[in-house]
Symmetry: C2
Subunit: 144 residues, 2 copies
Amino acid sequence: MTNFKIRPLEITDYDKGYLNLLSQLTTVGEIHKDKFEENFNKLPECHKLFVIEDVTRNTIVSIGTLIIETKFIHNCGKVGHIEDIVVDRNIRGKGLGKMIVNYLSKLSNDYGCYKCVLNCTNDLIEFYKKCNFNYNGCEMSLYY
Amino acid sequence: MTNFKIRPLEITDYDKGYLNLLSQLTTVGEIHKDKFEENFNKLPECHKLFVIEDVTRNTIVSIGTLIIETKFIHNCGKVGHIEDIVVDRNIRGKGLGKMIVNYLSKLSNDYGCYKCVLNCTNDLIEFYKKCNFNYNGCEMSLYY
């Protein structure tokens, strides 16, 4: 696993397959480099995007986001929200999913969050249990 | 309902019962005015906290948060996350919950989000269905 390096998303990751990998999760659309850079530059400080790079191939193989929410409850506590976890489908089963989720949940703890949460489909419950998450309720959504 | 006004949280809402109302949701702890103001001032732009004030009593009767998340998926799309909805238990059944949830989900749409999401316990699914949300998956959490 020494060829896999976890680090924050960099603006040059456009050329390392970041959007291709994201398109394994859902629709991405046609995002040219300038639009990618514009969106990258407007990400707020509390949105922390990470990648795992296969440094032998200069390619992004896993990605994940952590949003730090500042609340008033729990003594002005903070909550970490994990979003958009993807592992390249050609390289699954090597523990990269656990590696990025565990990294983000530890980071959330390091930022002083009292909990970390994420939403997933039923078939991923067992995976997230292995990452020390427990079922806590429902996600409801409204699409425009 | 003309005495109920919905508006962004203001720093002076400390004296209008904001934290008392929040304590109906969960533990708040002892937050003095200076700590409230410090936390208020460090809320990032993408965290939008709203209240409903009963202007005849200068009292906050409902609260809710909308976090705007900037993503790369869906053509650099945005997602609204609704958090920490509370209606004063002494004034429930008047439609204030629907009023604040509908306001935040419309605001999320106005900000260009392609969807709005929230997490809740099973007993609140029917309420959120009345606000046009649908069941979409599980919430998993890790407490530190």
